[in-house]
């Protein structure tokens, strides 16, 4: 660790990130880098919608959270630099605030990712909000992937009674429900990445 430069500290994204990071979603007339629509029309793979709310320690839905997703494509491959050069390609990245939806949900329209390296299909997740000084990492797994989930090496590191907090409920028709609890008995598992 000699001669290492100290890492810049993290700070909260604050309550007013919307016009900077999620402008279009909140009705501002300019662009944002990524939004809730991750899959493009021509992206191969099964279409899914993943939605949910973020709850604070008092059980109240958080209206100023921002969720970011990073995912593999249907064959388990992460997009690389070349893919990002093509604005119309599948980029595997999503970003959605909770304050623009009447029910304070985040909603992602995407394709189900493929598993890779022995890991079950999952979405990599960053959680940010006012009152959170460091972004929190978690994952969204899928309830209808029981066999793959049982063999997943990351889920295996999570105490069994808490694994359910990482699994989205399958509602049928490609719809998945995944809530994030910041605190409480059902506190979502967050990862030290």
């Amino acid at each position: 660790m000699t001669n290492r430069m100290p890492q810049t500290p993290s700070q909260t994204v604050g309550p007013y990130f919307a016009y900077g990071l999620t402008a279009r979603q909140y009705g501002y007339d300019w662009d944002q880098l990524a939004d809730g629509r991750i899959a493009r029309d021509d992206t191969p793979g099964p279409r899914i919608r993943v939605f949910g709310q973020v709850f604070d320690g008092a059980g109240a839905p958080v209206d100023d959270a921002m969720i970011e997703i990073w995912q593999a494509d249907a064959s388990g491959r992460y997009p690389d630099e070349a893919d990002f050069a093509d604005r119309g390609a599948f980029h595997g990245v999503g970003r959605c605030g909770t304050g623009a939806d009447p029910s304070l949900r985040f909603v992602f329209d995407t394709i189900k990712p493929g598993g890779h390296d022995g890991e079950a299909p999952h979405l990599n997740v960053c959680v940010m909000m006012r009152g959170l000084l460091l972004h929190a990492y978690t994952r969204i797994y899928f309830a209808d992937e029981e066999e793959a989930n049982a063999a997943d090496p990351v889920l295996a590191l999570v105490p069994e009674e808490r694994r359910g907090t990482l699994v989205a409920r399958a509602l049928g028709g490609g719809l998945y429900h995944f809530d994030i609890a910041m605190q409480g008995d059902d506190e979502t598992v967050f990862f030290d990445v």
């Binding site: 700070q11 300019w30 000084l133 910041m182």
Partner: protein, 231 residues
């Protein structure tokens, strides 16, 4: 290949007594440490094509019928990893209040004027030396009701991806000599010795004569490391 560990000793805690909202929002259970796989080592890679010509110039990208009010500033610096290597071709997003301390965010109710010619957001992509550069106006202080007579110091919000999902960073840049820093729970949530890393330097060489004051601020992200992390 992995990333150097997140240096928690130099980072804020999840729950901070001074910053009230953390009480119900910071996780309370221990984090589960996971090995970094492809999903953590890779990350979004927005390139130069993603930045429009006015995205780096906050003095122009919100203009309707004139110049934004306030002290013009140039904010520049390098994005480095903790080995001191430049982080190239990575997107830097910024947002900030106007010179009066008012955000254009629809929920900001602070009774200070909105500047019709200032939007307060932009982005750029670092060059081969890891450099970024924005033109803007100095953001004003504003009240935030965390405690009696609570005012946020002047600051600019920064969002960076770096080379992987694991190197993601959202932080704030502060200005030198600001008397509100000593009183601000968000700034002070970072431990002494680390919080100072968020303060930019006034730089006369970056300052442009007859036009704008210059500030330099380097940002250090976790670096790619060939040494595997210890368990």
């Amino acid at each position: 290949m992995t990333f150097t560990p997140r240096d928690y000793a130099g980072q804020p805690k999840w729950i901070d007594e001074g910053y009230k909202s953390t009480g119900l929002r910071g996780p309370t259970k221990p984090l589960v440490r996971i090995p970094l796989g492809r999903g953590e080592l890779a990350g979004p890679r927005f390139g130069q094509d993603w930045v429009g010509p006015l995205d780096t110039d906050l003095t122009r990208n919100g203009r309707v019928n004139g110049e934004p009010l306030g002290e013009r500033i140039i904010v520049t610096g390098r994005v480095l990893d903790d080995f001191g290597r430049p982080v190239r071709n990575t997107v830097v997003e910024v947002w900030q209040a106007n010179a009066a301390g008012r955000y254009i965010h629809k929920r900001d109710q602070h009774d200070a004027p909105i500047d019709p010619n200032f939007r307060g957001s932009g982005r750029c992509v670092t060059d081969d030396e890891g450099r970024y550069r924005f033109l803007s106006v100095k953001p004003g202080a504003y009240p935030w009701r965390n405690h009696h007579n609570a005012w946020r110091p002047n600051h600019i919000h920064f969002s960076l991806f770096g080379p992987g999902f694991a190197s993601r960073l959202v932080t704030q840049m502060y200005f030198p000599g600001d008397p509100l820093l000593a009183l601000d729970p968000i700034y002070n949530s970072a431990p002494p010795g680390s919080r100072e890393l968020m303060i930019a330097d006034f730089d006369i060489d970056t300052t442009e004569p007859e036009w704008a004051l210059g500030y330099r601020w380097d940002i250090v992200l976790r670096g790619r490391d060939a040494t595997p992390m210890e368990d």
